[in-house]
Symmetry: C2
Subunit: 233 residues, 2 copies
């Protein structure tokens, strides 16, 4: 049976509330998957993806990157703060990883999967040299203020990218490729034809220009992520 | 038990010898996979890949694109002839598809998987409007003299590309992406970090500059191809 609970935790002064889920029918310890939400914050999408990872046999923690009471206009402000300060961003992600790794069923192996804002977040974590089994960025930004150093990446990387994403043009894909080659990273990037920004968000279509759900790419990327996690764990 | 035979066939005046393989332990009809060899011609690599598709439950035909007696300097001449004449190239590929589709165990569903020269070949076939379930190009050229027309592609497309392939730089990936978007194709392209040209050719390393076997990308692309074939069939 899948159990879940809201876990309050802290990144210094900021109170965060994450969503932890695991399957009580499984015995033994297993890897943990951190889910990092998109720009809308910890929502049904992030919780739903966490539950899918639990169905695949992992413990999952959908972390909270914004903190209690951050909504409306304050969300953009919080995103801007975190994007502008990679060290603070990585510290906040690490606070989520700490919660996940302390779960008694987690065996020490960890991966992080992020969507949109969370995709950018997990790539920044990788660039910082975090020791994880793998990170997956799904329709996330690929640009960075602090490109990875040679031999500076210590996790496998998978990027799932929509060919029609107006926020991430092919020039960014080319720059990211150069950055990863220079860093000597173990990386893959899948371009999904027909997919715009936010292609895994079931309710995204029509909310913002350039953002739309794309069921075939959601399914294909979900399978690619499963395959990636089977490889890295 | 896997059975195989050399099948002589013709494309007009050209005598060709393909390699047909199927599993006699399976009952019932099933999809067929055409394997299109790389620049070296129908060799152990192409036959080996055909046998893997048989192990996955398909009938496979590794076709012969060059013809009897074409070796040495005549290979480059034959490649140049075929690349310069997409209609002739597609006709020759179609001759192989005809052999495959006539096998009594093939149920009418067909896909084509090509490597290097064969990758270019299957994309040309897709651009010509061929009605297949899917085509897969593995470390093949992405440029073309005859870009696909809008609504002109009638098969799903998967491209497996090495990030370090000096023959297929990121500018070609960008042009291919534009071509596929304009055509409205159902397509995906995976960039494998660390992979040069010919990354699935076990014995390629050291033979030519820019060409090398890359085991992780060979494995990852093989799994991606399996997943793609499960989707399209």
């Amino acid at each position: 049976m899948i159990e879940s609970q809201i876990v309050p935790y802290r990144d210094h002064d900021t109170l965060l509330n994450g969503f932890l889920a695991w399957d009580t029918a499984l015995s033994g310890r297993r890897p943990g998957v951190l889910v990092v939400h998109g720009g809308a914050g910890l929502d049904d999408h992030a919780r739903g993806r966490a539950l899918r990872f639990v169905e695949s046999g992992f413990v999952a923690f959908a972390c909270d990157m914004y903190g209690e009471g951050v909504a409306g206009n304050r969300v953009i402000q919080r995103i801007t703060e975190l994007r502008g300060n990679p060290a603070a961003l990585n510290q906040r992600t690490q606070a989520g990883l700490d919660i996940l790794s302390r779960h008694p069923s987690v065996d020490g192996r960890l991966a992080a999967v992020g969507y949109c804002f969370g995709g950018m977040t997990v790539l920044e974590l990788a660039r910082s040299g975090a020791q994880l089994a793998g990170v997956v960025s799904v329709h996330g930004a690929l640009e960075t203020a602090q490109p990875a150093e040679p031999a500076g990446i210590h996790t496998k990387i998978l990027v799932c990218h929509g060919a029609l994403d107006p926020h991430v043009p092919m020039t960014h894909v080319a720059s990211f490729s150069q950055e990863m080659v220079r860093a000597g990273a173990d990386w893959q990037l899948i371009i999904y034809g027909g997919a715009m920004h936010g292609f895994t968000h079931e309710n995204a279509t029509g909310n913002q220009p350039g953002v739309a759900y794309h069921a075939p790419s959601d399914l294909r990327s979900s399978l690619a992520i499963q395959m990636f996690l089977r490889e890295v764990f």
